[in-house]
Subunit: 414 residues, 2 copies
C-alpha cells in the first residue's frame, strides 16, 4: 500500500515502542485497521492516540478479491489445512472473526503485543516484532467437508456450497499420503520473508486451540528477480503461461468465479493444491534432450520448441506429444499457477533429497479447467516418469473481505 | 567481494549467455576462478575470451579462514552431513577437488553450464542460473569418523586428527534421533536466497554419487534487518553474546584454532551442531514472566535482567539462577553462535508444528568451551522445559583454502 512521500513509515517495532510508551495497544487508525486491532483484545489493548501509517511493503488484507491470488508471487509460502473440532457455528464465527482481525493487523505489519502483563502469556508470539510486513498475504479457503462432513450439515450451510467444490477425484498415478489430503479450512500465507510468513501461520494455529487443529502444513520457496519467471527444482521456468498480474480481463476469464455461484463466491476462486514429489536424482541423470522433451521447452530460455523466446506462442505441432506443455496446452484450458518448491530433508527410505513442488493453482471453474487438465496430465505427461503426486486438496476461496466484515460472514450468517 | 564502481557486474545469466554466444565455458579469470571453473570440465568448457567480474554480492571461497564462520549471518541455511562410501583415498581426493572447484565457482555466482550437448545430462542442475551469488558461503568440516571408523584408519590420517575432535558425549536429556547424528564430512551452506543455497547443496550431492551419501540435511532461516540480532521462534533475540564480526582479537580468542593443533587446523574451527526441537505450543501458553525468567532477558529489548539494553553487561547476581543466560554465562566460556530456525511441517505424533533451532556454534576448543557449557545447560537450563535435543554432531573445519589447493589437501597428501 503506497503512502505519500511525506508520511512517516512505522514498522512493527515503532508501533510496539509507541504502545510501550503510551501503555496503549497498537493501532493503525488511518487505514481503519486500528479498530480491528483494538478489537483483538489482548493485554490492556486500546486505541493509541498517535496515528502511525502502514509499512510501505504492506498489502491490504481487504479488497474486492482476496490478496495472495493475483498478487505478484512472494518468495516464501506456508500453506496449512485445518480440521474444525466443533459443530458449534458460533465457535466457528468467533474463530473466523479473530483470524480476520489478526490477518488485517499482520498484513499491515503490526503486532498486537504490549507486553503489558507479566502474568499472562504474551498475545503475540513475538518473532516478527522487528520485521516489516514483507508483502504478507493470507488467503482463506473452505474445503468440501466444511459444508458437509460424513453426511452431516454441521453448520447449516450445505445449501450454500459453491457449484464446483469437490475433492479432487483419484487420479491414475496418485500416491496420496495422509494427512496430506483435504481439510475443512485452508490458509495460504505468502511473504517475502520466511519468518514473517511463519509468524502469521503460527499465530493462526495458536488462536485456534480447541476450535480447529492443524491437518497438514507445507512450506515452500521460489526465487526470481526483476519479474523473471522463477525456475522449479528441475531447473525449468515454472508459470510462463500465467496471465500478467495486471491483465484484469484474463483474470475475469480464468480466475474469478462469477454468475451461477452463491454471492459469497462471486469474485472468489477455487484453489487446487497438489504436493508433487520430484525425483531430483533421476532427473539429474537424464540428458538435456530428454529434459527438454519432457517440458517441450528449452531449459535455458524457456522458449517452446520451435520458438526463440519464453513467451512466444506455443505451436502444438512442434512439441513432443507427451511433453508437459503439449498436454497442458492441449487441454484447451487455462489456470493460474502459484507454485512453490519445497525441500523436506532426506527421504529416509531412499537416502535421496525429499523435495518437490507444492503446486497451487487458482481457477473459476475447476470442473472445466483444472480437473480435465490434471486427468490428461496424469495419464500421459512425460513428466510423470520423474514425479509422484503425494498430496491433494481443493478449497473454495471466497471473494474479498470488506473492512468491518470477516471471513465467511455471508456463509455463516443467514 | 567489492568491485570498482566502473567495472561491469555479470550475473550467472550474463555468463551463461556469453558462453552460449561464444560456445565457450564460463570463466571469471579476473579473480582467478576461471581456471577452476574451466578445470571442472563439463560440456565443451573452455576459457572464454571476455573477462567478466564476479557478482557484487559474492563472498570469496578462498582466504585465510573458511567463509561462513565470521561472515555476517545470511538468511538461509542448508547443513548436510555425508557418509563416505569408499576406503580409497584417491576417490576422496578426487571428490574434494571437485567440491572445491564447484564451491569456488558457485561462490562467485557462476554456473558451469553451457547446454552444449543434448545427449548428456546438464552438468549443472540449472535452478540458480538466473540468480546472483546471494552471499553464498560453503563451509566444510570433518567428523571423528573421517579419521577413524570402527577402529579402522581408512585413509591413513588418524595421526592428523585434531586435538579436540570427538563426538559430543551423551547429555542427560538427549533424545537423539538417527540419522541426525555425526557423519564423516559436513557442508554448511548459507546464502541470502534459499534457492541459491539449495542449488549448492544439491550439486554437491549430485557430484558425490558412488563416493559419498547424504546422512542428514537440515534447512533453516533467520530474519533480522539493519544488523539487528535475529529472533528465534520463542521470540527472543538469539546471538546477542556473539563477538562483533569485525572483532579480530575476539575471533582469535574464541573461534580460531592455533598452536597445538595440526597445521591444517590452525586457523580452522570446531563446528558444534545440535538440532533442538522447540515446543512452541507449550511456550506460547507460558506467561511473559516465565518466558523472561527462562532466558534471564527481557523479551522486547533483549536486555539482561537489571539492565536497559541488549548489549549491556550481564550481572549474574541479577539473573534467575537457572535462566539460560545465567548458566551459559556462568560457565565462564564463550562460543560463536550461528544458529537458524527450522520448521519441518506437522509432527504427526502430537499434531503440533514440528519446529525448532538448528544450533550451530564455532569455537577453537570445544573441550574447554562448548562441552562444559552444554553439560551445565543440559542439567540445569530452565529452557529444557520447552526443548529437546534431537540431533548432534561435531566437525573440525580446516583453515581457509588457497587458490590452487583443495579442501583437506594437507590432510590427504602426506
Amino acid at each position: 500500500m503506497k503512502e505519500s512521500e511525506e508520511s512517516k513509515k512505522y514498522s512493527r517495532r515503532d508501533m510496539l515502542k509507541m504502545s510501550l510508551l503510551t501503555g496503549a495497544g497498537v493501532a493503525v487508525s488511518a487505514s481503519g485497521i486500528g479498530g480491528a486491532v483494538a478489537a483483538m483484545g489482548g493485554l490492556g489493548s486500546k486505541k493509541a492516540t498517535a496515528e502511525p501509517h502502514e509499512d510501505d511493503d504492506a498489502i491490504s488484507f481487504y479488497g474486492k478479491h482476496q490478496a495472495g491470488i493475483i498478487t505478484p508471487q512472494q518468495t516464501y509460502l506456508y500453506v496449512a489445512s485445518f480440521t474444525l473440532l466443533t459443530d458449534d457455528k458460533k465457535a466457528v464465527i468467533s474463530l473466523f472473526k479473530k483470524w480476520t482481525e489478526m490477518a488485517a493487523a499482520m498484513s499491515a505489519g503490526s503486532v498486537n503485543e504490549t507486553y503489558g502483563n507479566d502474568w499472562l502469556p504474551p498475545s503475540d508470539t513475538g518473532e516478527a516484532v522487528d520485521l516489516s510486513a514483507a508483502r504478507l498475504t493470507m488467503t482463506f479457503g473452505f474445503g468440501p467437508t466444511f459444508f458437509e462432513k460424513n453426511g452431516k450439515d454441521r453448520f447449516g450451510i450445505a445449501s450454500k456450497k459453491p457449484k464446483h467444490l469437490q475433492d479432487i477425484p483419484p487420479m491414475p498415478r496418485d500416491d496420496l499420503q495422509e494427512p496430506f489430503v483435504g481439510g475443512d479450512v485452508c490458509i495460504q500465507v505468502c511473504a517475502d520473508d520466511q519468518q514473517v510468513a511463519f509468524h502469521a501461520i503460527r499465530n493462526f494455529i495458536k488462536s485456534s486451540v480447541g476450535k480447529a487443529e492443524l491437518k497438514w502444513m507445507q512450506s515452500g520457496f521460489i526465487s526470481g528477480k526483476d519479474g523473471m519467471t522463477p525456475r522449479n527444482l528441475f531447473g525449468f521456468k515454472d508459470g510462463t503461461a500465467n496471465a500478467a498480474s495486471t491483465n484484469t480481463r484474463a483474470h475475469d476469464q480464468i480466475i474469478w468465479a462469477n454468475q451461477g455461484e452463491p454471492d459469497w463466491m462471486q469474485g472468489g476462486s477455487y484453489m487446487a493444491c497438489r504436493k508433487i514429489k520430484m525425483f531430483l536424482e533421476v532427473w539429474d541423470r537424464s540428458s538435456l534432450k530428454d529434459q527438454e522433451d519432457t517440458f517441450g521447452r528449452k531449459k535455458d530460455s524457456g522458449a517452446p520448441y520451435g520458438k526463440a523466446k519464453e513467451h512466444d506462442k506455443v505451436n502444438l505441432s512442434q512439441l513432443p506429444k507427451t511433453s508437459h506443455t503439449a498436454i497442458a496446452k492441449g487441454s484447451g484450458q487455462q489456470i493460474y499457477r502459484r507454485a512453490y518448491s519445497y525441500t523436506d530433508g532426506v527421504d529416509t527410505k531412499t537416502g535421496y533429497v525429499d523435495a518437490g513442488l507444492m503446486f497451487i493453482a487458482y481457477q473459476k471453474n475447476p470442473t472445466q479447467q483444472f480437473l480435465p487438465m490434471l486427468l490428461m496430465l496424469s495419464k500421459q505427461d512425460k513428466l510423470n516418469e520423474y514425479t509422484k503426486h503425494i498430496g491433494s486438496a481443493m478449497f473454495a476461496c471466497p471473494k474479498g473481505i470488506k473492512k468491518g466484515s470477516y471471513i465467511g460472514k455471508e456463509l455463516l450468517e443467514a
